[in-house]
């Protein structure tokens, strides 16, 4: 299982790349008159009280990140095209490049993308007035059928993040994938050293120590240490909640970052990585974490995306058979509250085809599509609870993985991405990185982070 992004696979298996075969990174398909069997019977959608064909003949341009969702949904896209008569054009890019492209598009009012991936910058974009709120479309009966769509089947956390993480009253986009933090460990090492899977942070630290000290060439644990708002603080934000605080105890005047809880959480994470982490832990990104684990050079990943699962158990991994998954640990006296992250898809104010885009969103996140992607495809990131409960799916991905994910998701609390989160988050993560690198204490770092964050809002 490839992490599922290269256009390598999808270009060819999608359908006969008609018009844009030469396109590079899109690997796109825009087949209108697809011949062969449709992946999902149209009947699945025809129950809905939605006027699917009202935009027949138009086309939408989707800007997407190189992400498993894209490869998972592409085979089903002909279904949408058949259903609506709308052509779908893809523009798929690696994450960092996509950000640049998206920003250029919206900030210059180009409106190239009718649908685009949306993440931590959602409130930033929303406040700039670049994002088209979806509520008017939800209210439009020809576009949305609540009974059929069952919005409540979406995880609470996902819906919350699609509302700007609490900062928006309206839908800023439709969640398409969710990932939640889980714990990965080496079953063979656990057996060897007779270890129990940790439920608490204390146990986890113990386990890490045991492995670190008794194994040569294997570090106790790995975790994201590099800066960036999606990096080390993505992990730390979990712990700080579990240590009993939250970000922005008082928005926008008190970031809460200098509270005891945050400092304790930071100290715990910092010392964990320093004591039992790899050399240069402070510069490890998710890919280093993943690679280190894949190479069998680490005992655990304390907590990271459950989406590592395919990578860790697939052919890229030298320890594929020995990876265990469990819920992320939490403090003995704290509350389990793993971080979760949704990708959502949004549409911009300048987009030509926002309504068509909405139809696509509805279709893409609908139950039939989702279920098909997860049962027939190799997806494992559904935002729909029903999918995680689907037996076929569970047996495909493994009971254990599904159950851990489901339970975690039910308790999950994603980060609230306030509009300047990227900005202060970046600085906050820099501070944390400094602490991990041992340049300053966790307390100093967090105090600094707090003042930076508050300063950014004071202006």
């Amino acid at each position: 299982t490839r992490g599922g992004d290269s256009s390598g696979g999808d270009g060819s298996d999608g359908s006969s790349d008609g018009s844009d075969g030469s396109g590079g990174s899109d690997g796109g398909t825009s087949t209108s008159g697809s011949d062969g069997e449709l992946a999902i019977p149209l009947s699945e959608y025809e129950d809905a009280d939605i006027d699917w064909r009202q935009f027949e003949g138009s086309s939408i341009n989707i800007g997407a990140v190189q992400h498993p969702w894209v490869s998972a949904i592409k085979p089903a896209v002909p279904v949408f095209e058949e259903l609506t008569g709308i052509d779908v054009v893809w523009n798929v890019l690696p994450e960092q490049q996509f950000r640049t492209k998206r920003q250029t598009d919206v900030s210059t009012g180009a409106g190239q993308f009718d649908v685009f991936y949306m993440d931590q910058v959602v409130n930033q974009f929303r406040e700039e007035g670049w994002i088209q709120p979806l509520d008017p479309f939800f209210d439009d009966d020809s576009l949305f059928d609540e009974d059929w769509y069952e919005p409540d089947d979406l995880f609470e956390a996902s819906r919350w993040q699609a509302h700007g993480g609490g900062y928006s009253d309206t839908w800023t986009g439709m969640p398409i994938t969710v990932e939640v933090q889980t714990q990965f460990y080496r079953k063979d090492l656990y057996d060897k050293h007779d270890l129990e899977v940790a439920e608490t942070l204390e146990q986890f630290r113990q386990n890490a120590q045991t492995i670190h000290e008794n194994e040569s060439d294997v570090v106790g644990t790995v975790g994201r240490g590099d800066k960036g708002y999606g990096m080390n603080i993505y992990i730390l934000n979990t712990f700080l909640r579990e240590f009993g605080t939250s970000l922005w105890t008082e928005f926008p005047t008190d970031s809460g970052l200098d509270s005891d809880g945050v400092i304790n959480a930071a100290e715990w994470y910092v010392s964990l990585l320093q004591d039992y982490g790899p050399e240069g832990a402070s510069t490890q990104t998710w890919s280093d974490v993943l690679s280190t684990m894949q190479e069998g050079r680490a005992g655990h990943i304390v907590s990271d995306a459950n989406l590592f699962w395919p990578g860790l158990t697939g052919s890229d991994s030298s320890v594929a058979d020995n990876i265990g998954i469990a819920k992320a640990p939490s403090p003995a006296d704290g509350q389990f509250s793993p971080n979760a992250f949704n990708w959502q898809i949004s549409t911009s104010k300048n987009a030509q085809n926002s309504e068509q885009a909405f139809l696509f969103m509805v279709w893409a996140s609908s139950q039939p599509t989702n279920t098909w992607m997860h049962v027939e495809g190799d997806a494992a990131f559904s935002v729909r609870q029903s999918v995680w409960e689907n037996d076929e799916f569970r047996s495909r991905v493994g009971e254990n993985f599904a159950q851990v994910t489901l339970e975690s998701l039910q308790e999950a609390a994603p980060d609230p991405f306030d509009r300047k989160y990227p900005q202060w988050g970046q600085r906050y993560s820099e501070e944390l990185q400094r602490a991990i690198a041992g340049q300053k204490s966790a307390e100093e770092a967090m105090t600094k982070a707090a003042s930076v964050a508050e300063d950014i809002y004071s202006n």
Binding site: V121, D226, G280, S291, E295, R297, Q426, R434, A437
Partner: protein, 310 residues
């Protein structure tokens, strides 16, 4: 050739007229396309950045724009970490430039002196290749190769040498950036210097040998002065390129750890694409442009680019 319009022929047929027109105004024809392209790629972007740097919020509607004077510049320097990035940038520029220039020249001179044609070709091709590794590939693969746990380079150092490998990205990030840049871009200097060396007339070298100059003085007094325009230009261009280095460093360290490798270009990038403060980014860019232009002017005034024949 100081008179650009010295007539070459007396006009006869239409064809001849056209040809004369071509020849008589040759310098203008030669310059025109370059000037056109230059106008296109400098004036508008420059003006646009200047405009952005003076307004409150990015908008394409000039009439709706709210001009805020120098506020963006203030933000850049008080909050934006601009000064820090300038310092970091200058550190990287100076050290990498020195390293690359010296290394590039030494390698070029050594390769030029290789006796066997095949060996020469081999070195010549090989030494240019690093430049062809795309920045993000280099950064990504560099990261994994330098990874303290699973990287091949620390592994080789640790097992193959008596030294312990430092943790490249966290302990010596600046050095790592400089060394990687040197690996990546010494070829640039190498190739230009090499070409420059091969245009030094052989007799000059012979004359200096007869004059009793030892090898290094021959380079210092005869060869390098002869190549001065080439050395100067290569160094200046590399200097400018170093100032705006982005891809490899961003991919390698993202400007970290902390802000240890926060180059100006990374700063601008973050202001623009992370903080969404396009106007502040533009302000930094303008300051940056002014500084680099000034620097280049100073360098040109001090060193001059006149060749041996002027």
């Amino acid at each position: 050739m100081s008179t650009p319009t010295q007539t070459e022929t007396t006009p006869q047929s239409t064809f001849a007229r056209l040809r004369d027109l071509w020849n008589d105004y040759l310098p203008y024809w030669f310059m025109a396309p370059m000037v056109l392209v230059m106008i296109m790629i400098t004036f508008f972007p420059g003006a646009y950045d200047l405009y952005l740097s003076l307004i409150a919020e990015s908008t394409l509607d000039v009439f709706a724009a709210e001009f805020v004077g120098l506020r963006n510049f203030e933000t850049a320097f008080t909050r934006g970490g601009a000064i820090h990035s300038f310092v970091i940038t200058i550190t990287v520029v100076v050290s990498a430039l020195l390293l690359e220039t010296v290394l590039g020249f030494v390698l070029a001179a050594l390769v030029a002196g290789v006796g066997s044609g095949r060996a020469k070709s081999f070195y010549r091709v090989l030494f240019i290749i690093p430049m062809a590794v795309a920045p993000v590939s280099l950064a990504t693969i560099g990261r994994i190769m330098l990874n303290s746990e699973i990287g091949i380079i620390p592994y080789v150092i640790n097992t193959g040498t008596p030294f312990a490998a430092p943790s490249f990205l966290s302990e010596v990030p600046l050095l790592t950036v400089i060394l990687l840049d040197a690996w990546n871009w010494t070829p640039f200097m190498f190739i230009i210097f090499y070409a420059g060396l091969s245009s030094v007339p052989k007799t000059l070298i012979e004359a200096s040998r007869v004059d009793g100059a030892p090898m290094w003085r021959r380079y210092v007094h005869v060869i390098i002065p002869y190549m001065k325009p080439v050395v100067f230009v290569a160094t200046l261009i590399r200097l400018i390129d170093l100032f705006r280095t982005f891809g490899v460093v961003y991919g390698l360290t993202g400007g970290g750890p902390g802000t240890a490798t926060q180059l100006v270009s990374i700063n601008i990038y973050e202001q623009m694409f992370i903080n969404n403060q396009i106007t502040v980014a533009a302000a930094i860019a303008i300051v940056y442009l002014v500084l680099v232009v000034a620097l280049c002017n100073v360098i040109i005034a001090k060193v001059g680019f006149e060749g041996v024949w002027d």
